[in-house]
């Protein structure tokens, strides 16, 4: 049973922020793909729901060669998946969205809602962090920007405070020789990952590793960067041995929790395998890039 609540439907961002500031026991809804589940389970029973689905100012995809990609918070997963410019510039985002839940969910769920929900098993988090994304959020008093990997604080907890809304995701323009790959391990294609790994590789002109990022999904309280492994790769000529080593580190550094779907040991093992594979895939993409 879902408890009764008051429904607020602001028409503009300004009105949304004002309303949110006004009501204490208030949750933001923008599709309800995550919120309604926890409400139905009785874990949340807010007095007010603030529906920002109709705040048009936050629904956009913009790309500029220098500035990179900007996605408004209420942009749906499906819009990202179907964006031609994203397919061209950030194919990993399209591939990730294509396997995020079902088409029905992607049609209604939004990128901002997904990030704000801060489920460590969510798909966009690790990929966006691997792409060095930043997040813009704010309230009636002003806006803030943070690197996405610093935005997540704990299970279902972010840097946002009451009154804050996610406003925009910003992904910088990629390096010339850059690759990024993501894979989740699950039994059903439409499920969240039992574990997941995203990896990005930028290469120097001489082919050595300029920078690498490794981000694990559902391997701890937040999307988890494996900096120890990232450091191992930096400046080196990359090969399978290094990928395997990085995988080993990822496996050790991860903090997965066992449940009925997999033991801790299996999760750690698969995280290592996925890290190794995604690094190799990202590296091969970077090599091919012009």
């Amino acid at each position: 049973m879902i408890n009764d609540f008051h429904y607020l439907k602001p028409a503009s961002l300004k009105e949304a922020l004002a309303m949110y500031a006004q009501y204490d026991d208030c949750k933001v809804i923008c599709g309800g793909q995550s919120l309604l589940i926890v409400m139905r389970q009785g874990m949340l029973a807010p007095e007010y729901l603030l529906d920002i689905k109709h705040v048009k100012e936050l629904r956009y995809i913009k790309f500029d060669d220098k500035d990179g990609l900007r996605i408004g918070a209420t942009t749906t997963h499906r819009e990202i998946e179907k964006s031609a410019v994203i397919a061209r510039k950030y194919p990993v985002l399209v591939a990730m969205e294509g396997k995020l839940a079902s088409i029905q969910t992607r049609n209604w769920g939004t990128i901002g809602g997904n990030i704000a929900h801060a489920d460590p098993a969510g798909d966009p988090g690790p990929v966006l962090i691997a792409l060095k994304a930043e997040i813009k959020f704010g309230n009636a008093d002003g806006e803030k920007t943070a690197p996405l990997d610093e935005f997540f604080v704990d299970y279902f907890e972010t840097k946002m405070e009451h009154g804050d809304l996610v406003l925009e995701i910003h992904v910088p323009a990629p390096d010339a020789k850059f690759g990024c790959a993501y894979q989740k391990f699950n039994l059903l294609g439409s499920d969240m990952g039992i574990v997941a790994a995203a990896a990005s590789v930028a290469l120097n002109a001489d082919g050595t590793c300029k920078e690498a990022r490794i981000v694990l999904g559902n391997a701890g309280p937040t999307p988890l960067r494996v900096t120890k492994a990232e450091d191992l790769l930096k400046g080196k000529k990359l090969d399978d041995k290094l990928f395997a080593e990085a995988g080993q580190i990822a496996s050790e550094e991860s903090q997965p929790v066992a449940d009925i779907h997999a033991s801790e040991e299996h999760r750690r093992h698969v995280l290592g395998v996925l890290t190794k594979r995604m690094l190799k895939k990202a590296f091969e993409q970077a090599q091919k890039a012009a």
Binding site: L187, L188, S190, I260, H266, H269, V270, V273, L274
Partner: protein, 761 residues
Amino acid sequence: MSHKNFSVINTPVHNIDGIAKVTGRATYAFDVTLPGMLYGKILRSPHPHAKIINIDTSKALEFPGVRAVVTGKDTLGIKQGIWRRYEELCDEQILPLEKVRYIGEPVAAVAAVTEEIAEMALDLIDVEYEVLPAVYEPMEAIKKEAPTIHEGVERNINVTRHIEWGDVDDAFEDADYIREDWFKCSGQHHMCMETRGAVSSFTPEGKLTVYTGTQSAYYHQGLLAGVLGLREGDVRIIAPYTGGGFGGKFELDAAQFCSAVLSMKLNKPVKIVFTREEDFIASKRRTPMFYYVRTGIKKDGTFCARESRMFSNGGAYTGMGATALYLTGFFHSFPYKWRGYRYDGYRVYTNTMPSTSMRGFGAPQAMFCSEQQIDWICADMGLDPFEVRRKNGHTEGYEVPGQAFIASCGLEQCINEIEKWVKDKGKLPANRGIGISSCGFMSGGIFNWFDSPYSFSSAVITINVDGTVELHVGCQDIGQGSNTTMAIIAAETLGVKMEDIKVHSGDTDHCPADLGAWGSRQTLMTGNAVKMACEDAKKQLLEFAYAEMGINIVYDLDIKDRWVHIVARPERGMKYEELVKKALRGKDGQRIVGRGYYTPHRKGMISPAYSYMMQAVDAEIDPETGKITVHEVMTAHDCGQPINTLGLIGQLEGAASMALGYAYLEDMPFEDGKMMNPNLVDYKIIKAPEMPHTPIIEIDTYEPEGPYGAKEAGEGLTNPTAAALGNAVFNALGIKMKELPITPERIRKALKEKKEEEAKK
């Protein structure tokens, strides 16, 4: 094969209720609302095993909007069960008086003006329990020191079953090679789209009407009457549509029982619909089984003997579990000829939700063990798995000693087709394998543990003056399309069009008794009754046609596509509609009525007929993560004469989906008796993206006992898949999967063990 010139049979026919369903007009029990109706909710036990000391309902009764609260004390306290002939197997009080035996067992029910109020009132019922030690696994429950779940039942052994033929020990003596293995087969949830639900309406005239989803309206009529102290004729079950059954909807359930008890107390209609979670934790499940299998074989591949012991997790009550215990043991011998065969099955009570029948009825478990072990034996001995199956397989005219007679059998053709398909695929890439499994299945059970005094199936057809036909049957359409099947058989037999037939089923007041939809019985049994009823009516019509047409009696008359004609001279005849009008006049205005029935006689112990099949599963396994990808599921299938070719495909695809789920996804883990995944996020079923291509080759056979040569289709194909996937994994990676479901972790574990073994060598 004598009669292949069909008009309707063997064509693709859309389900006659398809449009009503897809346009939302089909009313299920959930959709029924009656004037003055109240809503019920069930309070369930949080303990796996506890004495009920006291139930205080006073606070709940005072809650505004609550109309009644019932507990076991408001019932007759009758222990019920579907094995009515055997008192000791009637062991379940749906609202127990003395103790609860599993988490989720009903202890009280509330009726209120809204569902929300009823649910809130549950919290106000104060149940005092004395928690008892509990046991969850059969191998633990069977020990001497285990807690007693049912008083007087020693070692918690609920039922045993022994099957034996031939001199087993002597046959083992002849074997050149003997292999033995242990297997563990998991449970599975029926996962009906429609959860259990009922609207019961008891009126002061002393009559009870229950709208409910059911696999057998007649069984529910009998069970409810028995447990409520009513005459069967005073209980009416209406089941216009049922949203899936799969073996889980022919025992009495708590929605039906509690709504009826509440309604009888209030003289008002009461509706109870299970939530998805309630369906998961308290609606029974496929029986988990531990199998020990010992098989002896000669060097040339001839099977000598098999000896198996099976221990099943029966859960808290018997239900249909006693039948599953027999059938798993019987089908474990299938589809092969054994000189000696011995099976001992033990169904053991535990403090978990009861286990029962589910699509395949014990055979999927039996085949998982048998068909994998056969491949392992072939690998051990360097024999060809196709050849060995062909050599030992059932053939037409074979008698399973003391058990069954095989009148039609397309097994060899099935094996040949699949062998060709596999060989055509050629060499596969690394980590990819094709596994095979053959099996067979029943076309309806001969058993009458329900003690029905009626024919197993009956049908009545009435022909109206305009030629339209009312077909009354007691078979139950649960989505499998049996109403369509019956309409096809009626249209074909009578010689009219599909649109002339109206099927009336799912109402005990207006339809003849029929044992219902279980054990793949309706196409053969109800189909025979329908055919007989139509032949009866047709004969009456043709009597008038002879008189009307004034033809020589040596000519045969027939009706086809509404044309009444001389068989030898089809152009000579008259319109069916005209004939009906004249025939009615000749009968002094009475409508033409035809009757038919079917009860199997002298058909062995199990079933009048058996389907056969072989399946191949093409799967790829990621050896690093253990993840399985199923590429294709190929089936060669002998169901006798197909009746509805479209319905057949639907049934076989559904079986493949359910069986693949059983093979590698679906699981019901328990912790201290509590199911850990009672929701659709954590309970994994095959979804559209995972569903592989499932082509089918139909083998042409004719079953003399079936209507137009038809036999089982759709349930049996749940049997081979888990074994075939296991064999695919074996062929891909050389590992033996002895536990279901075949999960990535189990694959990794087996790979690790294989490595360690190889290192030892």
